[in-house]
Every structure is written in C-alpha cells, then in structure tokens.
C-alpha cells in the first residue's frame, strides 16, 4: 500500500538535499511569494475568473475542449512558485497559454500564484492515508505535541499555534516539520541565549529582535525584554527546539498526525 510517509520521505530527502520540494514551496534563493494573504488570494481569484476561467474553467479544473489543464492538482510544468510565476508571465510558447498583458504588475501575477497555490492544498483534492481522529489522539497523548502547541486555545506556548496550520502547510511540509524540524526554522522560533552584565544566562524563544533590543520567552513562559547595550552578550541558535519524531513515532502515527494537522483550518 502506498504509504505516504515513505513516498514523501523519498521526496523530502531530495528536497532537503537542496533540490526542490514537491510543490508549494519556492527555491531557496527566492524570498517566496510575498503576496499570499487571504486578500491576495481573493484578488487572484477575481483576476482568474476574468482572464483565465474561459479556458481553465471557473473551478480551475481544466477543460478538455480548450486543452487547458487542471490547475488544482500537481502542476506538470511548475514545481515552485517562481516557476508558476514565470508560466503566467511568459506563457507557454506554441500553445494557447499566452502570457498575461505585459503591463500587468508583478504583484497581480503573484496574487494569481497565491490563488493557484491555494487550490492545490484544498483538502477536498487530497486523499491522505492517515486518520484525523487517531492523529488528534497522538497529538495530545503519545506525541505530547500539545505541551508546546496550541490548537483552538488548548495547549502550550513554546511552539506555533497550529489551529489553522492546514491552511498554510501542505501534507509534505507537515511531514517535514515533524521529521526534520531543524530545516527552515522561522526566526520567531530561534533560541536566544542572553548573558547579562552579572553573568546570568537566560535562554528563550526569540519573540522579536531589532537593532537595539531583543525580547524572548523563556521555558517558564516568562517574557523578557533586553536593551542590547545593557547585556554582556547574546547568542542566536537557529535550530528548532522541537524534537524530531523519526525515532519516537511509527510511520502510521506520523501519517495520522499529518492527516490531523492538515485538517486544522478555520471552521465553516
């Protein structure tokens, strides 16, 4: 049986080896799509309906007559946001897929990218092997994920709130989050080790850092704010404080967690 974990595991090895992620993520050297808020997705949708739907359909599911492919599943010609951007910007030569108007601002092209990206993680289009209910139980019990993560107001504060993580992470990314937590740690979750003038060391998650000050939350959830010129030194640890679950959870438990996490979205 196709175990998502092992299949994706192979993909992930590739991805983390520096090549590419299956989808939804951009190359390391690009800053990623900066226009991917709900507002942008909506703007992309509106533009799509006006300019693209006559070939790709209002549901973006493609149209045999025009030969325009389904854009809601994995794309044949684009494996990254930048790739998708380029297709929309320059078209596909020799096909009915023409470039968008040359004077269309990049912003709007990125909004289209965001909109198409939002389709591919539509849960209705994705069939996952794991069980949501079992995943929920692993999350609070054996996995003890809730000691660090909140879901709908329940849980810890030492990791990101996962109440809506299914909206921002694909199943592949969720898998990677659990197996390889040290890749792509957002700066908010780096650890700062601060040594004050009296030599006292305090460590905490990096809530914010700027030119002259930094703020952390320590393991006891205390908030601390330091002016940089009033501490002896500080050190930045860019690794994750989350353990990897390769050893501690079984493949099927991981599958269940992926299914559960992917189901976490804004209700209604």
């Amino acid at each position: 049986m196709g175990n998502l974990t092992t299949q994706l595991g192979r993909l992930l090895t590739l991805a983390l080896g520096g090549l590419f992620l299956a989808k939804g993520s951009s190359f390391a050297e690009d800053a990623g799509n900066l226009y991917n808020t709900n507002f942008d997705i909506n703007a992309g949708l509106k533009y799509f309906e006006r300019q693209c739907s006559r070939c790709h359909g209002f549901d973006a599911k493609g149209n045999d007559e025009t030969g325009a492919p389904d854009l809601t599943s994995r794309l044949a010609r684009a494996s990254s946001e930048v790739g998708l951007f380029n297709i929309i910007r320059t078209g596909i030569p020799g096909t009915a897929m023409l470039p968008v108007a040359a004077d269309l601002p990049d912003t709007q092209v990125w909004q289209l990218v965001a909109y198409i990206g939002s389709l591919s993680t539509d849960p209705a289009n994705i069939d996952l092997p794991g069980s949501v209910a079992s995943g929920a139980s692993v999350f609070t019990n054996k996995g003890d994920c809730s000691s660090c993560h909140m879901v709908d107001g329940q849980g810890g504060r030492l990791g990101p709130d996962l109440s809506r993580v299914g909206e921002r992470r694909s199943p592949e990314e969720l898998l990677s989050d659990m197996l390889n937590p040290h890749t792509d740690v957002a700066p908010r979750w780096w650890t700062m080790r601060v040594t004050d003038m009296d030599g006292v060391v305090r460590e905490g998650l990096r809530m914010n850092e700027d030119s002259f000050s930094l703020r952390i939350m320590d393991e006891e959830l205390n908030l601390w704010s330091y002016p940089k010129n009033q501490i002896a030194s500080f050190e930045r640890v860019e690794a994750s404080t989350m353990p990897s679950y390769t050893q501690t959870l079984s493949d099927s438990e991981i599958d269940d967690l992926v299914a559960y996490l992917f189901s976490l979205r804004k209700e209604n």
């Binding site: 109440s163 320590d218 959830l221 908030l223 704010s225």
Partner: protein
C-alpha cells in the same frame, strides 16, 4: 533617578499595598504576571499598572502616581513612539501590566509591546470581511484583561480572547451579525468572572444589548437588551413595532461597583436618530444609564437622560463613580456629563437624581425638572427644512472619557459649545442599511465655535474653571496625584493643566488629532504618560539625569 518610594509619600496613599512592600527588587523580574479579579478590584493601589480601559472599575481615570507633578511636568520628554501600521485614527487606550503594554489598532488588531521601549513582543491581526457596516471609522478603543487573557471587540461584531503572552487566539465568538448592522469597538469590562461587553450599530436600526461571556469558554452567560421586548416593562414606551429597530447601542465601556454589585452602562440614541415620528414615546432605555446586577444582568434601575431623543444625544459616556460629600453626608454617586449638554450627579444605589445643570451651550431644553427629566423647548425637533439646535450632533461631549480627581474632588470633561442645523427625513428600515431619518449641517466654520476643558463640582453641578481650546477636542482626560489633568485636542496638542486651577502647565504639538484618552503607568520607579495621536502612540517621561 526618582524612585517609587516617592510615590508612596502621596497624601492619598492610605491603603496598604502588597505589590509595593518590596517595590523595587534589584533582581530583575520578568514582564507580565496574571491579572486576578482581586488585582482589578484594587487596581487603584497598583498605579504602576493600567489594567483596564478607564484605569479602575469606578472609571475615575485618577492615578496615584505623582512623580510627574505640577512642579516638574515641564521636564517631560518623549521616550518612545509606536507607529500603528494600518492607517486610521487611533482611539486606543493602551493597557499596561507589569511592563507589557497592549495596544489595540485599526481595524481590529492588537499588539503587545515592551512598555519601556515600545518594541513589539507579538501582534494579532484579526481577519475581517470586506463588507463591514460601520458608522464612524475603523476604530478600536482597548482591551480588557483577566488572568493571562485579553478580550477584544472587533468590527465584525465578534469578541475574541487572546493569550497575553503569545497573541494566540483562544476563542473567537460572534456577538451579533455584522451584516445586520452590528459592530464592536469598545473595550470590554471584567466583572468578577465574566467579560461584560456592549454593541455598536445605533445608526443601523439594531436592538442594543449588554452581554456577559465566560472568559474561559466564550459562552454567553447573560444578555440584557437595552430595548425591552413585548411584555417587558418599558416596551410600551415605543409606538407599534418601533422597538425592534430601536437602537440604544451600548458602544462605550461601563463601570462597576463591587460593594453594590452593580454594573453601570450608558446607552445610545433611539433609532432612527432624527425622525421621532415613527417611534412615539419615551423610547426606553435609549439615552439612559442602566444599573445591572453584576451576576445576572438584571436591570436594577435606569435613568433616562433624554426621553424621546431626536438629536442623537447618545448617553455613551463612561460613568464615573465616587463617594463624595453631598449636603453634609457621604454619598455614593455616579457623575455624568451627557452629550445633551447637562451634567448630572445621581445616587448610584438607587438612581435618584441629585444635581443637574447645563455645562455647555444648549437650546433644546428649558431645564431639568426635580427628577432630572428635561423640559423640552418647543419646536426644537428636526424638520424637513432644517432647524438650528445646540448642542450639535457631535454633542456637548461624546464618548471621550471624562475624569475625576480624588485630590480636587472635581469632575473634568471635554466640552463643545456649538450649534447645527438638524434635518428630518423619511426612511424605511432595511436590514444592514443605515437607518437615521435625517442628519445635520454646520452653518458656520468650526473655528467660530468654542470648546473647553471644564472642571465641575459634582456636589453643586457648578463649573469651577474652564480652559479654552480651539476649535474642538475629542480627547479623553486623565488626572493624577501629581495634581495634573492630562488631555489633548483636535488640533494635535497633548497638554497638562493644573487640576486645581485649570492653568496650563505644559503642552507639546504632536501634529495630528488626539482622538484618545491618555493613561499613565510606571516601570522600575519611573512614571510614564501615554497618548495616541493620529496613528501614533507616544510615551513621555521625565528627563533622566
């Protein structure tokens, strides 16, 4: 640098203060600690913190901090400013708990910053629908806090609970349907183990109410309608079905008396605002003060300032509670300078009217009768052609917080002497559409009018002093044990007056309209005073040597 012990010398610090037994440990303590109900009840004795919209449950906006005082206020300098990223006018009164400041922002966002530097800990951005129904800008005025949870109103008429340490959403409940014209802008009020909150939408024919929610689950505990339904006392003060669209929004924060276990809350105009023909009667409980049981929300008493209002004279003012000397004895009173231009002193146990006088120019009433009910001037209702009335629609004052000083015993209010032409129109109610039945027009430039900060003696309702401002102000007021009245003006000044005499002590041009009330707090013995102006939150303190 001045130490906190200085503050303890203040004449008015009579209560023992646990938090200040070891005022300033040399050991550095982390920021923020949970806010219990006991802390909120005794908020006055923790003047280093500002733990709710009006500072204390009695809403006096009087701080015991006196490091900044009449002698040294000229030494104030800016310590930091915080720029709100979404441009709109800021009406926020920040909350400070143990060195962390919580700032609400347009449209319905919230940020936690280090109160010493203004630098961010976290932000919460509330997602909003595109088709909001809001009358008067994308505002939010502040949060309430209980335990480690912040409670905030949002423009889509939700109430959200947010973790004070991380900004995570704990729950998000719909208080009312924004598509039917409901919205929320005011800071909620914590009453024991409940989050009490009101609703806006008085220009949309809503039916106002006051709600209480469970702080842990977000479940509605009780709702008290500000417009009584069929069979309830007061429903017969509305002709026909007019109560259904009766308005009486509850869009500013109320007060609470723990001894009497009464919540005090103001209500807004009846709907439609300017056409009273379609809602004959007194229109209870529009333009009223409601006293509600702190556990059940039941109405203990009401006092209607403007029966059958046709001028949009919302009683959306923060009720100030104090025990004052009145005719030879100590009386538990509520003080209220109303949008209708009258100042009232009311017994807050019973709702009995004690004193009342006009404190600003008004032409709509001949005076108050012995029960405090206005005697309307005939012919002052809006007409199709228009008729000139004082005060204008914005009122003699409005939602901007007044203050009371325990040192002077005076009540301070931002007041406006203006006039406006009022019009009446015929309008049918349509859900989610504006429902006002008219409007107004100024016949003179703003600069022709007169505005001032007025100090009123609550025992006599007489004006003790006034400080003129140009042309108008929509700023709130804060007083301190340093003998100061802090406030601002529409032409962009933040300034300090002598609370006893009204003399100007200090001013600074911030360059943009002050549309919020100042607040004050302290960290490690240093007092700060904060005010939002334009889109910026400014914090001042004394120069350090």
């Amino acid at each position: 640098m001045n130490k906190f012990s200085l503050l303890l010398c203040g004449t008015f610090l009579t209560l023992p203060v646990q938090a200040q037994e070891e005022p300033f440990q040399t050991v550095i303590t982390p920021a923020f600690s949970p806010v219990t109900w006991e802390r909120l009840v005794n908020a006055e004795s923790e003047p280093e913190n500002w733990m709710m919209y009006s500072g204390t449950l009695d809403s006096q906006r009087y701080s015991r901090l006196d490091q900044i005082n009449t002698d040294n206020v000229t030494e104030l300098e800016m310590k930091w400013s915080y720029q709100i990223p979404v441009i709109d006018r800021a009406e926020t009164v920040p909350t400070v708990v143990d060195g962390v400041m919580f700032i609400t922002e347009a449209p319905s966002n919230l940020t936690a910053v280090d109160a010493r530097t203004g630098r961010v800990y976290w932000r919460y951005d509330h997602e909003l629908p595109e088709d909001l129904r809001i009358c008067c800008g994308r505002n939010n005025r502040g949060v309430a806090i209980l335990g480690e949870t912040l409670f905030m109103s949002t423009l889509d008429a939700h109430l959200v609970a947010i973790d004070a340490r991380t900004g995570n959403v704990l729950w998000d409940v719909e208080v009312a349907d924004y598509e039917a014209g409901y919205s929320k802008t005011a800071a909620p009020l914590i009453v024991k183990d409940k989050v009490v909150t009101g609703i806006a939408g008085g220009e949309f024919g809503i039916r106002g109410f006051i709600d209480a929610y469970d702080p842990v689950t977000g479940e509605l505990e009780w709702r008290t309608y500000a417009v009584p339904g069929p069979g309830e006392p007061g429903n017969d003060s509305w002709s026909g079905d007019s109560w259904k669209t009766g308005g009486a929004a509850t869009w500013i924060t109320g007060s609470y008396d723990p001894d009497l276990n009464l919540i005090y809350w103001g209500t807004g105009n009846p709907g439609p605002d300017w056409n009273g023909d379609v809602r004959l009667g007194d229109n209870l409980y529009s333009d009223s003060a409601l006293a509600l049981n702190g556990d059940t929300g039941e109405i203990a008493w009401h006092f209607q300032f403007t029966p059958h209002d046709v001028h949009d004279y919302d009683s959306i003012q923060v009720p100030i509670l104090a025990d004052i000397e009145y005719q030879g004895s100590t009386r538990k009173v509520m003080m209220w300078a109303n949008r209708n231009a009258f100042f009232y002193t009311i017994d807050r146990e019973t709702g009995e009217f004690l004193e009342g006088e006009a404190y600003a120019t008004q032409t709509w009433a001949q005076g108050l009768d012995p029960n405090g009910r206005p005697i309307p001037t005939p012919g002052m209702a809006p007409t199709y052609e228009g008729i000139l009335v004082s005060p204008p629609i914005v009122g003699a004052t409005n939602w901007y917080s007044p203050a009371y000083s325990q040192q002077t015993g005076l009540f301070y209010v931002t007041s406006f002497d203006g006039e406006q032409e009022f019009f009446k129109r015929d309008e049918d109610y349509e859900e989610g559409e504006r429902f006002t039945g008219g409007g107004g027009r100024y016949n003179q430039p703003m600069d022709a009018f007169h505005s001032s900060i007025r100090a009123i003696n609550p025992a006599t309702a007489e004006i003790e002093w006034e400080f003129p401002i140009m042309p108008r102000s929509s700023a709130g007021i804060t007083t301190t044990a340093g003998g100061i009245v802090f406030t601002g003006s529409a032409d962009g000044y933040f300034f300090a007056l002598d609370a006893a005499s009204g003399e100007e002590l200090w001013h600074i041009s911030l360059g943009a309209r002050v549309h919020a009330a100042p607040m004050t707090y302290a960290i490690d013995g240093q007092q700060f005073v904060t005010i939002a102006s334009g889109n910026v939150v400014y914090t001042f303190g004394l120069k350090e040597d």
